[in-house]
């Protein structure tokens, strides 16, 4: 019982990307938008899809699949843009779907298992086990800084 009181909860937004579940602390999430018209910006990295008009603010969009070198998929009905803020940057992530808000305990977060060896490894700050689910926590700094 005493354990439960001491434990700190982190509220995270959970999203899907190629069969895996990822999480971003809700404090960084500004909102979740449906896919809208993206204006391509020339001479940028391929994972930068372009910019959108987010209620009057021109916001850059990053395709997380391309950022993580995952196979690119077409846009589905469930495709979402998660608007996140980090320091003075505001950026949108294109994800397969976003449908959960969860409280995870700080103690359930573990270091990334070293054998995973996938390409997105460097963007991961840790994993959290929630029963049978495995949430991958993103390292936003690294995702945003090339």
């Amino acid at each position: 019982m005493t354990n439960a009181v001491e434990q700190e909860f982190i509220k995270v937004i959970v999203f899907q990307l190629a069969d895996k579940e990822y999480a971003i602390p809700v404090s960084h999430v500004q909102g979740i938008e449906k896919l809208m018209h993206i204006t391509r910006v020339p001479k940028t990295e391929s994972y930068v899809k372009g910019v959108i008009n987010l209620r009057g603010v021109v916001t850059p969009i990053i395709d997380l699949r391309e950022r993580f070198n995952l196979p690119v998929s077409g846009n589905e009905e469930t495709t979402r843009i998660i608007i996140i803020t980090l320091e003075d940057m505001e950026v949108g992530f294109v994800v397969d779907s976003a449908n959960d808000v969860l409280d995870i305990t700080a103690s359930s977060i573990e270091q990334q298992p070293e054998v995973v060896g996938s390409l997105e490894e460097e963007f991961i700050s840790g994993v959290a086990k929630l029963g049978k689910r495995l949430l991958i926590l993103l390292h936003l700094d690294k995702v945003l800084n090339p």
Partner: protein, 688 residues
């Protein structure tokens, strides 16, 4: 850490106070006798000192303190205002400005001000020998006259009243009242103090004046000259009863204060005696009248109009603007829905909404407008200093300081103007001897004008100096290889004038302290052009020159030409477009792997935006024609090849945010009527 949130406010306010200091110092120089001006400067300095001490900028606070001491000595008439003293005070203000700017740039506001501090100290101690031998004797004499203890100064009439009061069994006091630093309603406390005082006697004079006390234009202390039958101790106790009064000091005014009055003031003595011999009871009546006289005097000197404004963070205005654009886009949708549905009342409502939004748009846009005064303000001081340095006599006239410009333009235009004014003062206006020789008045005039015209603001700098020596400019341009002899032969006067804006050009024979440090007028030209404006020069030799700058009203809204490439829409700023044209494939020529066209006899390289922007193309488009936008950067031209022109439009400039920085050839974005983002082409990047 906590202080950080106040830093911005501190910087803004410090700048304002320093500006006020400079302005009042200039006034003071013209009216050295006007102690009201000294009080204004003192107040600004005092506030600045307090603020910087609170913020922990000790150096800033320290220097301000030293300056304040000098000002205090001036307002207590211990020292007299001389140009030399003002020089030192101006220098201090310059240092303070530099410190504040340093803080604004993230520095710690430290600066070596040793020599200035020493000079200030010397002046304060009355020893102005170093600054000026001439005035030294007078200063020292002046210091001996007024005892330090008395804060107030009196004119002859007030002296008379005070002197005579003692003969009527009244006591004359000088009362110093200090309110608590955290006192919230200072004016109310002042009122209560005055009420008590007026019940028991008569207030002869106060410092600051009654008006200023009412407007809370004082720090926490004020002084009152007072006559009463009460004794000092009782008065002190009564006044201490007013809450939030921290300290009350009641000091009796001895007649000796006046009798040992300044040596030249013998006429005053005579008056005193003359009045004494007249009917004594009249004196009290006079005493009652005095405060009102004082009041009207006070209001004359300090009734500067305070415009009611609030400071708003420009970011908030941007947010407001964004929200407003959202509304504009939605209005567009509503309008189209209304036409589809064709419902009478809906149509009416949408129409009314459109009208209101039109007005609203005007207001939102004008909110970012700031009078150019904020920039012009610093020039009188600068010209004063320059003319002293150069031993010239120059007056600066400022006209149209109330003309409004967008805040972003205001921020950028300061440096170019400094350059141009320096140029006029240094190269334009001749020395007094030369001017006399030419039959001109010794004193030169530089006129700084601003006015609106159409969608532009014009700023002009006119001087009645030597004008531009065409032969000299041409010779220099030829020797520096700026132009060839052939080109030079066919140049108009105007073109020759504008050669001085070319890079690496300086007409000064001798490199002076003021200009000719290698930073030429070309920087001015570049800055102005980057703001979407342009500069032209007119000059008549020996009569003077006019530098005329044309600037767009605002940078946040610009006129663009929308063009289409495949399905993508780009905006090209109208300010860099010369014209558009349709060319045939056969018009395109090849020169060194560079496709060029002949545009009015000029060879203009073509830039295929499709290639530059790597536009994905479904199928090749070739109908034998190309749409070309001819753009320029300075003298250089280029033709931007696009698929089609959409048309001219006013757009609101948006930044691409902090994630996407330095995108090649893209200077920003805008949101189109359909809610989509269009990118703005940076023509300067395309023309190397």
């Amino acid at each position: 850490m906590e202080l950080n949130q106040y830093l911005e406010m501190f910087i803004e306010e410090s700048k304002e106070h320093l500006q006020a200091c400079s302005q009042h110092l200039l006034e003071l120089e013209k009216n050295p006798q006007d102690l009201a001006i000294v009080n204004e400067i003192f107040r600004s300095a005092h506030t600045l000192k307090g603020m910087s001490a609170t913020m922990g900028f000790e150096d800033l606070a320290d220097l301000t303190h030293k300056m304040e001491n000098v000002l205090d000595a001036i307002r207590n008439e211990k020292i007299k205002v001389t140009p030399e003293i003002l020089d030192v005070v101006f220098e201090s203000v310059d240092h303070l400005e530099a410190m504040v700017f340093n803080i604004a740039d993230g520095g710690d506001g430290k600066r070596n001000v040793q020599s200035t501090v020493e000079q200030l100290k010397r002046i304060e101690s009355g020893d102005t020998a170093a600054a000026s031998v001439r005035t030294a004797a007078v200063e020292v004499a002046a210091t001996n006259i007024t005892p330090i203890d008395y804060k107030l100064t009196y004119d002859d009439f007030e002296k008379t009243v005070l002197l005579q009061s003692s003969e009527q069994d009244y006591f004359a006091y000088e009362i110093a009242i200090a309110l608590r630093e955290d006192c919230l309603l200072k004016a109310a406390r002042v009122f209560m103090v005055f009420e008590i005082l007026e019940k028991n006697g008569d207030v002869i004079k106060s410092s600051p004046t009654v008006d200023k006390l009412e407007e809370e234009q004082f720090d926490s202390q004020f002084y009152v000259a007072y006559i009463s039958k009460e004794n000092a101790e009782d008065l002190q106790k009564m006044l201490m009863k007013v809450s939030e009064v921290d300290q009350v000091e009641v000091k009796k005014i001895n007649n000796s204060v006046f009798t040992q009055s300044s040596t030249t003031d013998t006429s005053g003595q005579v008056v005193v005696e003359a009045v004494q011999q007249e009917t004594a009871p009249a004196v009290l009546e006079q005493a009652v009248v005095t405060p009102t006289v004082q009041k009207s005097n006070g209001s004359k000197t300090q009734s500067h109009a305070t415009s009611k404004t609030i400071r708003v963070n420009i970011e908030r205005l941007d947010i407001l603007m964004n929200l407003f654009e959202e509304l504009v886009i939605d209005r567009g949708r509503l309008q189209s829905i209304a036409t589809e549905v064709n419902h009478g009342e809906l149509n009416e409502t949408v129409e009314r909404m459109s009208r209101v939004m039109g007005d609203l748009q005007n207001i939102v846009l004008t909110m970012r407008m700031v009078p150019v005064e904020t920039v012009f303000n610093r020039f009188p001081k600068m010209v004063r200093q320059l003319s002293r340095d150069l031993n010239k006599k120059i007056t600066l006239e400022v006209i149209g300081a109330e003309t409004e410009l967008d805040r972003t333009v205001i921020d950028e235009i300061g440096d170019p103007l400094v350059h141009l004014i320096r140029n006029s003062v240094d190269h334009g206006i001749e020395s007094p001897e030369v001017r006399r020789g030419k039959g001109k008045p010794e004193e030169g005039t530089v006129e700084l004008r601003a006015y609106h015209s159409g969608n532009y603001v014009f700023i002009e700098i006119e001087d009645d100096g030597a004008g531009i020596d065409r032969e000299k400019v041409l010779a220099k341009a030829l020797s520096k290889g700026v132009v060839s002899q052939e080109v030079a032969n066919s140049m108009t006067d105007r073109q020759i004038n504008e050669l001085i804006l070319a890079s690496g050009f300086s007409t000064a024979d001798v490199i002076s302290d003021v200009s000719g440090r290698g930073v030429g007028l070309d920087v001015v030209k570049t800055t102005i052009e980057s703001l979407g404006g342009n500069i032209s020069i007119e000059s008549t030799q020996n009569v003077g020159s006019v530098f005329s700058i044309q600037l767009p009203l605002t940078l946040s809204i610009i006129s663009v030409m929308l063009v289409e490439i495949e399905k993508e829409i780009y905006a090209i700023p109208l300010s860099s477009i010369i014209e558009t044209s349709i060319i045939r494939n056969s018009d395109i020529m090849n020169a060194h792997n560079q496709k060029v066209i002949d545009f009015r006899g000029k060879v203009v390289p073509l830039v295929f935006l499709e290639e530059i922007f790597e536009v994905p193309r479904q199928d090749a488009k070739d109908d034998g024609f190309h749409s070309v936008v001819i753009v320029r950067k300075g003298e250089k031209l280029a033709g931007l090849v696009v698929d089609s022109f959409i048309g001219q439009q006013e757009i609101v400039l948006k930044s691409l945010g902090n994630y996407l920085t330095n995108i090649f050839a893209i200077s920003g974005a805008t949101i189109l009527g359909n809610g989509k983002v269009a990118l703005i082409v940076d023509c300067n990047a395309l023309l190397k």
